[in-house]
Symmetry: C2
Subunit: 499 residues, 2 copies
C-alpha cells in the first residue's frame, strides 16, 4: 500500500461564484416561496420537484458538437471507468427539466398540466459582483394548452402573487407583448426569408430599451456612434423599411384598445401579425372580465426582452417604485419576473408539438424589493438568552428556557464557557437578543430573577439623557414565577417601539 501523503490544511472557502445564506436570508426566502406556492396552489397548479441532476442529453440546449459538453453547465461523466458512462449535469433552469418530466410522465399527468417549481439552478459562468453560479428560480407553467386563457391566467396569477408577498397595487405593472406581432412586422417590412436579416433586426429591437426610437432607427439604417465612441454598423435598411418596426415599438396608446389599433396598422396585411394582435386582444378581454385593469396588466409592445426566445405572448413584471442605485441616483426598481409562450417544449423528446406558457420569478430580486419596501426586516429577532451564573445549576437554567419555549418564546441558554459574564452579554448582543435573564445564587435564594431589556438598554446607552435613564430602567427584578409574564411584556413593548 502507498503511504498516505500528509495533506496541507484545506482552505475553508466556497468555490468561486458560490455563497452561503444565513439566518433571516434563508427563512425570509422560505416564507416568501411558501406564500407564492399558496397562490399557485389556489390557481390549481401542482408542485413538482425534479432532480437537480439531469443527463446532458435531456437538458439539450447546451449540447454543442464538442467532446466535453460542459459549456454553461456543470457537467461530469458517469461511471468508474472514464469515458464509459452518460454525461450528467446540474440543471441550469427549471424549464428544461419540465420538458423532460412532461415527456417522461405524460401518460400519468393531467393535460393540460399546470405545475410550479422552486429551487436552485446552476450556471457554469464567470461569476461577477452579485452574480452567483447557484441561485433560486420559481416558475409556473401550463403545458398542453394553446388557449390564450392560459396566458391570461398566468398574468393574473403573477399580479396576485406580487400583491400576496407584499408589493402593493400601483407598485408593479405587468406588461404583455407578442412575438407573432413582431413576426407580422417583419413580414410587413418585406425582408423576405433572409434569416440573417431577421436576426439582425431582432438584435436591434433588443436594444430599444437602451437606445430609444432614434437609436433603433440609426441601427436599422446606416449605423450609430455609441456612448463609448465606437461606431456600430447598421443593418442597412431604408427609412421606409424601418417604419413598421418603429411603429411596433412605439405603438402603446392611452389604453389597450388604442394600442391594439396601432398594432393592427403596424402589421399591415400580415396574417401572422393579425393573429398576434388577436391573441393580445383576447388576453386583454379575459383579464378585463376578471377585474385586472391596465393599472395592473397592460398590453405594451415596447417589452422586447425575451421576444427572440418565445413564440407567442411575452410577459414582464416590473416594479415601478423608485430606489437609489449604488451611485445614489434614483431609478425604477425594474423587472422581477418574466415569461411567455414557447412551443415545441416537448417535441425534442416525443416528436409531438405541445404548446406551453409560463413565468419565472427572480427570487432574489423580489426578496430585495420586499426588503426595500420594508416588508421584511433585514435581521431576525434573536432569542431570549438565559445566562449561566453558576454552571452547576445548568438544570435550573434549562428548565427556564423550556418554560419560555413552551410559552412560544424563542429562547436559549448560554452554552459557552460561563466564566466571564461579559462574554455572555456580548454573545447576547451578537445574537441580536431582545432580553437576557440572570439568576445568580442571591436571586435564587430570594426567589427572583433579573430581566434585562437589551434593546432599550442599547437605546439608553446611545441616546438617553440622565433623566430618561432614571425614568426607564432597562433591568427589572421580578419574582421567578413572573418570568414569562415580564418577558412577554418587554417583547411587546419592543415590538411597539420598533413598529
Amino acid at each position: 500500500m502507498a503511504k498516505p501523503k500528509k495533506q496541507p490544511r484545506p482552505k475553508a472557502e466556497t468555490p468561486k461564484g458560490f455563497r452561503d445564506y444565513f439566518g433571516a436570508e434563508v427563512s425570509q426566502r422560505s416564507e416568501m416561496l411558501r406564500q407564492i406556492a399558496g397562490v399557485y396552489h389556489r390557481y390549481g397548479f401542482d408542485a413538482l420537484e425534479s432532480s437537480a441532476v439531469e443527463t446532458v442529453e435531456a437538458l439539450g440546449k447546451f449540447l454543442p458538437d464538442v467532446d466535453r459538453p460542459n459549456e454553461g453547465v456543470f457537467a461530469w461523466q458517469e461511471g468508474v471507468e472514464e469515458g464509459k458512462g452518460d454525461w450528467l449535469a446540474l440543471r441550469y433552469d427549471l424549464t428544461a427539466p419540465l420538458a423532460r418530466v412532461y415527456a417522461q410522465h405524460r401518460n400519468d399527468l393531467p393535460t393540460p398540466y399546470r405545475r410550479y417549481a422552486m429551487g436552485p439552478v446552476w450556471r457554469n459562468e464567470k461569476p461577477g459582483p452579485g452574480r452567483y453560479r447557484q441561485f433560486y428560480q420559481c416558475d409556473a407553467d401550463t403545458v398542453g394548452s394553446g388557449s390564450m386563457a392560459a396566458d391570461a391566467e398566468i398574468c393574473a396569477m403573477l399580479a396576485d402573487t406580487l400583491e400576496t408577498v407584499g408589493i402593493a397595487r400601483g407598485d408593479y405593472l405587468i406588461r404583455v407583448n407578442n412575438r407573432k406581432v413582431l413576426n407580422g412586422v417583419l413580414e410587413a417590412m418585406g425582408l423576405g426569408d433572409d434569416a440573417g436579416l431577421h436576426d439582425a433586426v431582432l438584435r436591434t429591437i433588443d436594444k430599444f430599451d437602451k437606445v430609444g426610437e432614434a437609436g433603433v432607427r440609426e441601427l436599422l439604417g446606416k449605423g450609430r456612434l455609441d456612448a463609448s465612441g465606437a461606431y456600430i454598423d447598421g443593418v442597412g435598411l431604408s427609412e421606409a423599411q424601418a417604419d413598421p418596426v418603429v411603429a411596433f415599438l412605439t405603438s402603446k396608446g392611452v389604453d389597450n384598445a388604442e394600442t391594439l389599433a396601432n398594432l393592427r396598422v403596424a402589421v399591415g396585411d400580415s396574417a401572422i401579425g393579425a393573429e398576434g394582435v388577436g391573441e393580445l386582444e383576447q388576453i386583454a378581454d379575459l383579464l378585463t372580465a376578471q377585474g385586472y385593469g391596465p393599472d395592473r396588466i397592460v398590453i405594451d409592445p415596447s417589452v422586447v426582452r425575451g421576444l427572440g426566445y418565445y413564440t407567442g405572448p411575452v410577459y414582464e413584471a416590473e416594479l415601478t417604485f423608485e430606489i437609489f442605485d449604488e451611485k445614489g441616483r434614483k431609478r425604477q426598481f425594474g423587472s422581477v419576473a418574466g415569461g411567455g409562450r414557447y412551443d415545441d417544449l416537448v417535441k425534442r423528446f416525443t416528436g409531438q408539438s405541445v404548446p406551453a406558457t409560463g413565468i419565472s420569478i427572480g427570487v432574489d430580486r423580489l426578496l430585495a424589493a420586499l426588503r426595500e419596501k420594508g416588508r421584511v426586516t433585514a435581521q431576525d429577532q434573536g432569542p431570549v438568552v438565559v445566562t449561566v451564573m453558576d454552571r452547576d445549576r445548568m438544570a435550573d437554567y434549562q428548565a427556564m428556557v423550556a418554560e419560555l419555549r413552551q410559552a412560544g418564546i424563542r429562547a436559549e441558554v448560554y452554552l459557552g464557557n460561563p466564566k466571564n459574564f461579559g462574554n455572555q452579554l456580548k454573545y447576547a448582543d451578537r445574537r441580536n437578543s431582545p432580553v437576557a435573564v440572570i439568576e445568580g445564587d442571591d436571586e435564587k435564594a430570594r426567589g427572583v430573577v433579573q430581566i434585562k431589556d437589551l434593546i432599550l438598554g442599547a437605546q439608553i446607552a446611545e441616546n438617553a439623557t440622565l433623566e430618561e435613564w432614571k425614568e426607564r430602567p432597562s433591568q427589572f427584578e421580578v419574582p421567578r414565577a413572573e418570568l414569562i409574564a415580564k418577558v412577554r411584556e418587554i417583547l411587546a413593548s419592543q415590538d411597539g417601539g420598533q413598529g
Copy 2:
C-alpha cells in the same frame, strides 16, 4: 463551420438513481420541514443554507490518493482546459459543509453557533430499490460548546420536533449512549493499544442489533456460523475479555439510575469510561429537570449505530409503533433520526479543536411515518374545475374561477380543447377534483349554474343502491349568485365525510 450533426431524439429519463416528486409529495415535505424549522428556531437555532457545490478539498472525507477523487461523490474539474482547475463536488451531507462554513465565517458567527440546515444531498453510489442518489437531510448542530447541556438540548428538541410534526408521545423513543463509555469498556478489556483489535471489537458491536448477546460472544471469541451457512471468523478474545463488552451492551436497567450503575461496573476503573458515564448522568439530570422523562428520552447502551463515528454522546430516535413490512410481517417502524457529538469538526481547516454535537433527521422516513399514521394524506385535494361549455364565453368562466379563488377556494378553468365534454370530466377526475361547475347557454340564459359533487358522485357510482341515489343527488342547480355558497357547502360536507 462544421455541419451540425442530426441528433437522435433524447431519452426523456431521469439519470439512474434520481427521481421526480409530484404534488403532495413536495408540499407535504415542505410543510413538515417548515414545522421542524419552527421548533429549531424557537430553540435559538439559526437557518443556514450553504451552497450545494463545494471544493473536493473542503469536503475532505472522500479525498483518497487517486487521480480522480470522485468515489462516493459527484465531482468534476473546474476550468475550460481540463486539468487546470479545482475539483468541485456536490455535498454528500450537511455536516462537512457546516465545518467549512464555521471555519470560513467563525469571526462573524456567534460562539456557540446553533444552526439548522435542510436540503438535498447527493451520493454517487449504486442506486437500489428505494435508494436514491439525491435525498433530503434536515440537521441541527451546536458548534463550539463542549457542555452536556448542548447534547441534552438537542435530545429535547428532537422530542419536541417529533411531537410537533405529528408523532404522538409514546410512539417514539430517543435513546442515548456514549462512545467514551465504550472506550472505557475497551480499556477494561485490557486490549492495550492494538488499533486493529479495537476496530475488530467495534465492528462486532455494530452487529449487536442483528445477532444479539450470544452472537456477539461468539464473534468476539472463536467465530460464528451465520444464517447463510458461512462461517465468520471471530476476534479471538477469551470469555473473560468479552465480559465487559457484553456487560456494556446489556446494561440497560429498569431506570436511568440502574443503567448508570451497571455502566460504572462495566467500565471498571477506566478514567475515560467514568467520564462517559458522568456525561450520560448529566444528560439524564438535565432532561429530567426539563420534564423529559425516560418515556421519551432514555439512556440505553444497546444503541450502537454511529458509535464508531462519534466521540461522545450518541442519540437515536426510534418510532416504536408497528407497521407491516413488504412481506406482511409486523415490525417496529424504526429509526428516523440520529446524531451525536463529534470533535475536531473544524480542526482540519484551522488546527483548532472545536467541539460540536448535532442530529440529522431522515426526512423521507419521517414523512413515510406520518403517512403511516394518517397524519398526512397521500393525495392533495384537487381544484374545483369550472368546465367550458362554450369556448367563446371563456371570460365568464375565468371570472367564475377568480371569484372562487378570492373566496379562498382552489379552482381552475378547463384549458384543454373543450369540444368533448367527457374529456373535461375525465380531466377533473385525474385532478382529484372535488367539484365541477357547469354553465351552458341554457344555464346562462336562466341565471343558474350546475354544480357536480364529484366525490359523492364517485361514491354513488361505486356503492349506492337506487334508493340512496334518489335521496342524495350529486348534481345541483343553483342561482349563479349562490355559486360560492353552494361550493363551500359541498366542500364542507366532503371534509366531514372524509374525516
